[in-house]
Amino acid sequence: MSEVLVLVDHVDGTPKKAALELLALAKTLGTPAAVVTGAGASKAVDTLKQYGADKVYVDESADHDDFLAGPKAALLAQLIGSASPVAVLVPATAEGKEVGARLAVKTGGGLLTDATGITGELVAEQPIFGGAVVVSSKVASGTPIIAVRANSTAPVEGAGAGTVESVAVQASETDKAARVTERVVEAKGGRPDLGEASIVVSGGRGVGSAENFSIIEALADSLGAAVGASRAATDAGWYPHQNQVGQTGRTVSPQLYIAAGISGAIQHRAGMQTSKTIVAINKDPEAPIFELADFGLVGDLNTVVPALTEEITKRKG
């Protein structure tokens, strides 16, 4: 069987959950071959093997960390040349999609983004227009490059052969034109990543202030959830833009999405509509968010959210 290349997103050698999901998906399409780059890459090998990687291409070149997107695309282009994979899967993150884009230009392969599933015939399913329409698309020329959203499938444990092959990117000057000089973490630690969390608790205009977001955070922490925010809340400066859910923000698809004080404008829905279960808390009974909530509570979040946090903490006891 032909290889399916999987570009692995990792933090110091710990693969992101979404990377393990991509391996599970790759296994349904061919031989999963992980591509792991940058500092700490070799530390990821054991986990990747444990989650089904038959091959692990390791390239610890500093170029991958020092420059934006170009070197990763160059490495994948090299591997397309040497391994003739049946497809390349990248995470549907900002960088993953950009790597895919550059790779598409380099190799003439077609690019599909934001897939939530791929069939054995390499037809990708993509929700568009905020989930109102589902499109099945395929790549008609070149090696298919498909960016897959987090939470599209579950990681599957089951050891692959895990054969390690060291590779070295030959990045051109134009691949190395945009230098990353500093990375600054603004997020508070200890919470799961918004993009791949299985539970997300989001606050909106109804939260009322930056300080009051603490009650949203407390609820999130009681559930082990990530914190999201509507654009109204990030525009007001109450919560960081990185946490914005919706069109022009992050698109999330968790098992459970709790929207507190969010009216549910179409722009917000575009970022969360494919969540499995949706719970809404809003004092306006006419809020459109109730139209898509599996469970809605009409009430003041200032009393309901802390009471809910307390109740969950008690039940989890």
């Binding site: 950009e98 329409v133 589902v134 459970l256 139209e291 909530a293 809605g296 109740e311």
Partner: protein
Amino acid sequence: MNIVVLVKQVPDTWAERKLKDSDKTLDRASVDVVMNEIDEYAVEEALRIKEAQGGEVTILTMGPDRATETIRKALSMGADKAVHLVDDALAGSDAVQTSAALAKAIEGLEYDLVIVGSEATDSRMAVMGALLAERLGKPQLTGARKLTVENGTATIERLTDNGYAVVTASTPAIVSVVEKINEPRYPSFKGIMAAKSKPLETKSLADLGLEAGAVGLASAPTQVVEFSTKPPRQAGQVVKDEGDGGAKVAEFLASQKFV
């Protein structure tokens, strides 16, 4: 400082957006159209740099005849001139093909910066900055919430999942911006009047020296096989808080095994 700003005309997010049954492409004719929202921030950023450092702002768009409405809006905000890439053969081009046509058009212009919005509300792919950087062989400075340009160096704060990265490159460079970068101005009455007489050049594929076979639906490297309209989510139970709201939500979460 000469800046090219890419703008895209898109269906209004509030409109009911559809694909056409005939060729499975976006129905652009039957919906209200607007300038892609983030592109307004791209135009604004270019105008601010021009106002501080001088130079010229050129709007570039690819789209049907109707896209001139969007071009006029960008000109009324204060851009100097525009190029409209319009050709029936472009219809149905995917993002990668579109980037080939846009790159050709950009190559015919003098620029220190190309600024694009980070994503369009219709396709939401968020890849045009990267595609153009690769095509033009220029630095990719994408996802900028802050941009500074001085002495031939452009530096951005690129939004990341947990913060930001500082990314720097020499100009000319390709920049994409997110909506936290500035607050776009509204066109003034004077600006709207002035826009009517600003130069707007129309270019066809032949003008760019592109073969019709390189773009368009028939030769697109990606194809829509089929599509279906998803039934809207059904509203579930909605209850009123009577002092026990927290407990009611907790009960629901427990019934779904989340707690």
